[in-house]
Symmetry: D3
Subunit: 287 residues, 6 copies
């Protein structure tokens, strides 16, 4: 399709109600999966985020980085063990995790946003005391896999108010300066609650919550918190969707307006969610 | 054409460089002609203006109102005499001109902007001492047809900084509280200079400056100030285009970045001018 | 009397306690009646308002315009029908009402204030979404005679904080951009409540509430809200005083400090009310 | 004369042009002489100053205190020697001068302003490093009679911006914490220059500069800087008027708008100077 | 001992936790006793106060001045009578008290702070209406010995926010401009409560509260409000300590974080209290 | 030596003049060498920096990270080639350099500052478009070894004004998002010029510039820009000192007040430089 200039103008104008609705609102975006590894998708995500900022929203990016981490560990000849989907993180692994997330993935995103015309600051949970963390597993088996103990949103407010887009690597720190590797979904949810975000968007590699994983047509568009228990029992919410839904529930019950699990493989998925009436993926609401 | 959501997102993103370029910039729009009488066009202009505001520009609207004035004069049984295209304006006519411009046309635009989701304040050149004026013709034959003597842009700054779109009726006042009827193009140019606008856009009922008025293909896309003299001598700039070009020249030589004579009959003409690379109509530049 | 310079200085100093008392306070003035038609009185009102602003108060002017409207309707050969003192307002009449109030009366007041050395902005209830209105009479018999549904005082705050005197034409608008003609007393009362005014002053053509309308000596200086019912029953509050008293009651019970019905035919009536101990006219208080 | 309320209102309104003219302007007032010893005059000066503040000016008071100082010295049995009209000030005398000026006279003025409804802060040239001083007479014969070496107006700006009236005792300090007794006229002139005052008013016990001291009718209303030399040669400017005129010359040539030598024995002399067209006393201008 | 530069650096660094703890906090210091009469101690107090300001605290100084007052009264041949440790203050005495406190002692402290590199403003309770006072003894026997009726902390906030250290002479004023002589401890306590200070420090000439006045080793380091009654009954809190402890109790129960009675004869006593872990003197806490 | 509390207080007070001198000033610290590898020294540097912030300075940290980079490259089996002391940096090496500097070294410093009680934000030259860079060697032999093309100090100002200490990894970016490895000394000098720093401090592993490298007593305390040429010719400035001195020259001629080459192996070297009269190391001044 080639739209004429006038059709393009018409489309810009159609976005007005959404622009108005989200003016000045904070939107936390968990960025990961295919949208992060596919170059073209990556560019589009950057554009989406910069556009959001220019039309008056405050996007806050929290990113993962699994594949890059695994790659580097492999190059260093370090094995990786997973327990319940969580990477066992000893001291040496933690060092590499932090280096890759903060020194590589984070700065690539910052560079991407700057290249798309935005202003970004990449930080980790260590900067400004953003994320206080501790071990997720008290037994110690998981090593430095962390959970968020508290979030100090001051640094995010500062960054936002001064016109920058914060890009956050989900590294936490305890009182003894020990780093922790935190799941990006969980970090995004905790940050969304702490900054009183209006929206939390999780970019995933699935179309959303499917009643039948084999049938993309079986998408559940709206998921109420009150239905979650049942769906879990029925096995509809299972596997990788379980932690994602839990993040969403934590966020909406913590005061975040709406949360969305959307398909990051769809180009401009974020804009589609925000600027169209029907949205995409699964929206989790506090009912 | 029906664009898919994804195509729409793509189009939004295409606007990014233009949004960035004009972020925080002031754009004075002379609103008049068909774009003001045709209901559908009118709605689109309102949307364009509100969109501009939401994506960070500062649109400033200056409007005319000829047809409405003539209509009311006729209803009142008052004749209208034109000398050189200027309406001879005696005291009684002036009263009606002001009433119609300020009390009707201006507020309709304000209502239109509010209905499209923007916040507007309608003012005349009397408010906040905005336009000091005097008679354009010292002989007095034209009555209260005025020319701008000075512009105090403070009220416009106040309105803009507080998030409102100023809508200005081109009425001026002298030291004795006498009202003057000022040509909207001239008022727009003077205001653009006073507020140090980056752009002045004149909405007209022609495609721009045509080398051959009968041939829409003969559009002169870029007109340098240095060429104006020649074009006038050659009769290319003539008739109604003469004052419009003069306004543009006055504005660009007064410090306004760029000025445009565009076709208000084209839907979303303003957005087309701002958000596309080629622009539309004739651009007058200070070279 | 010709006061010596020293006597004048003495009088200035006498005003100090009142200046101090009202420093930074908002005073809504309903401007209408003789004070608006008599040229000399008009000038004095303008001076009073400008003086108030310079000594630190925040006057907010709400004006009527009955006689001007009737005059214009007559010139256009449009009849006027009144039901219960309210002008039946069809679409054509509404257009004229708005034009005259906003385009003529409002701007004359603005010009008057500027001529007296003040800075004013004239707005209608349409500007900045100030007055949301609907039909006062659901039966439709009265046409577009409106009542205030809500007031958004933000635009007034903006105007005041930036050093301007707001002059407001009592036109409201509904969600479909339909204009409504609102009684200026009612508009003034609603605005006074919305801006949390300290004082509402209604300029009328009577000395205040008289126990015996024939006897100017029978002025009731202070009227308690609790006495209103009885006075209505006794016929003391009747005719044109009924809606005025009701406005005052609405205002004081809505949180406005004090409300006054004063005689606009007295030169400098507003200053007399504010700067003298005894005040003038009838004060309605919330007791 | 007893003015009616309406006459009073009229007089208030007459002040408008002067209020407007001096809005936001700084006026340094040297307060001394009869206006400081006569109780009734004192009250009137306080009222004048408070009124000035309320109508938007920024009065800055610099005071003397000769009689009070002499009184205290006498009570302590300390003699006083004058050389060329300057009090020889040894260490013991300096201690008393400072105590009386700062601890008594200054605070009485502050209390008077507060009692008249204003907010005042009494400071000496020591506070905030306001006045750096040194001995006026290098020979040391005069002791701690000081001259202003530099003025740091920051503290005055702070006091003014926060709504207070600064009341300044003319004590200076050198780098070794030594106090100096500075002539109040000189201190006022130096402060007026430092704060870029629009007006300097010296309250004296004479009607102004008289061509013939014996004839109050011989007042010179306007004195140009260029005429001063001649008048001194002719003996018109002589005695106590010599230092006062020099102060004025220093101030106007230093950038102060206008300076006035007025008769503090006239009630409300300050208001008369500011709020009447003809003014009173002698105005020194930079021509 | 001569510390090497490196040892000095180490000591600076040791202060960090205390600097951090008190950053932005208000500390009211009652300055009096030996620390005010001994020249060397005086210099050290000034340095301590300036250092506090530079490292981010907001010291507020309230001072006494007994010996200076007595000296001046003696020079003037005025006798002094004490009732229950309070100086009977007739009108003549009051005049001298105020002159000495405000005009001499206060300004010496201001000069001292400026000489140590700080910026100070010396005020009395009259300035900015800081201290409203009345007679402490209704019978009138004590004359103008005052008690604090109310404190308006606005002037202190202004002074602090603008980077100055307020130095306050404990003089109060009633509605009739009558001055009162207020005990500096009481004034300090009232001010500490009014400004919501985090600390009140009373500089005295004793090591603190001693269980046995003859034994400096018997210092009570921490005194709970709940223990005060008992200690009074036991005679441990007696004599001059009684009013000091009462001041502290009033302050901590009024919301001041902690209060301290410390030995002003110890050089840098204030810094010792703030920058060392053990502190010095007696701390009164609200338990 | 064990200093008594009182001696400690005395030492704090000695720092006052230096605290005052540097209040509100920006100090860029190039952090590297032994001070970064020795644990104890590291802690002391962190304390020094936090103390500077608390006493009102604005420290800005720019760090290197050579040993950590070499270590990681070795672990990955990547060789390192140096040409003229510059690490040849191919794409793979660049990736590791950035990861280590930004993801490891930078965050360790941030964590250290937070642990010492400060608030820090770690950024690289990519964040907020801080450092625009290009290849230092146009021939391409050095790969992505970069030189600073321009510095946009806005992000540093934002970070500083909001109370954080910026910690900067010397990575630059060109318009195509390519990262460059910039020498930390050069980056620090360029940043110092861009932020108009008052001081640039280079922490090194030598005592300063020595006339005779073998003799630590031959320290040149003050080096004038005008002497540099001669010293280079004489071989006094040579080897590793050459680039360091050039950085200093670039900084002081670019407007930085003073620059210092100091010995980071000395504990609290930064404090010694700032808080002692003699300073340490070599100061380069613009003479």
């Amino acid at each position: 399709m080639v739209a004429s200039p006038m059709e393009k103008a018409e489309i810009l104008v159609e976005a007005l109600p959404y622009i108005k609705e989200f003016y000045g609102k904070k939107v936390v975006i968990k960025y990961g999966g295919a949208a992060m590894t596919d170059c073209e998708l990556k560019d589009k995500v950057m554009q989406d985020i910069v556009l959001m900022k220019y039309v008056g929203m405050h996007p806050i990016v929290v990113h993962g980085g699994g594949p890059e981490i695994s790659g580097m560990l492999k190059r260093l000849g370090l094995g990786t063990e997973f327990i319940d989907g969580l990477r066992v993180t000893d001291a040496e692994t933690m060092e590499i995790v932090e280096m890759v997330l903060v020194g590589k993935v984070n700065k690539e995103i910052v560079a991407g946003i700057e290249a798309s015309g935005g202003k970004a600051i990449g930080i980790s949970g260590k900067d400004g005391g953003l994320i206080k963390a501790g071990p997720i597993d008290p037994s110690g088996k998981l090593g430095f896999v962390g959970e968020v103990r508290s979030v100090n949103p001051q640094i995010i407010e500062t960054v936002i108010e001064n016109g920058y887009i914060p890009v956050i690597a989900p590294i936490g720190m305890d009182a003894r300066k020990q780093s922790y590797n935190i799941n990006a979904d969980l970090a995004a949810a905790a940050i969304a609650v702490a900054v009183k975000a209006d929206k939390l968007v999780l970019l995933t590699d699935v179309p959303g919550l499917l009643r039948d994983p084999a049938d993309p047509e079986s998408l559940i568009s709206v998921l109420k918190v009150s239905e979650v228990e049942t769906y879990i029992r029925e096995g509809v919410i299972a596997g990788g969707m379980l932690p994602k839904v839990k993040c969403c529930v934590e966020a909406v019950t913590g005061g975040v307006g709406r949360t969305h699990i959307i398909d990051g493989r769809v180009p401009h998925a974020i804009l589609l969610e925000i600027f169209t009436n029907q949205g995409i993926g699964t929206m989790v609401i506090n009912e």
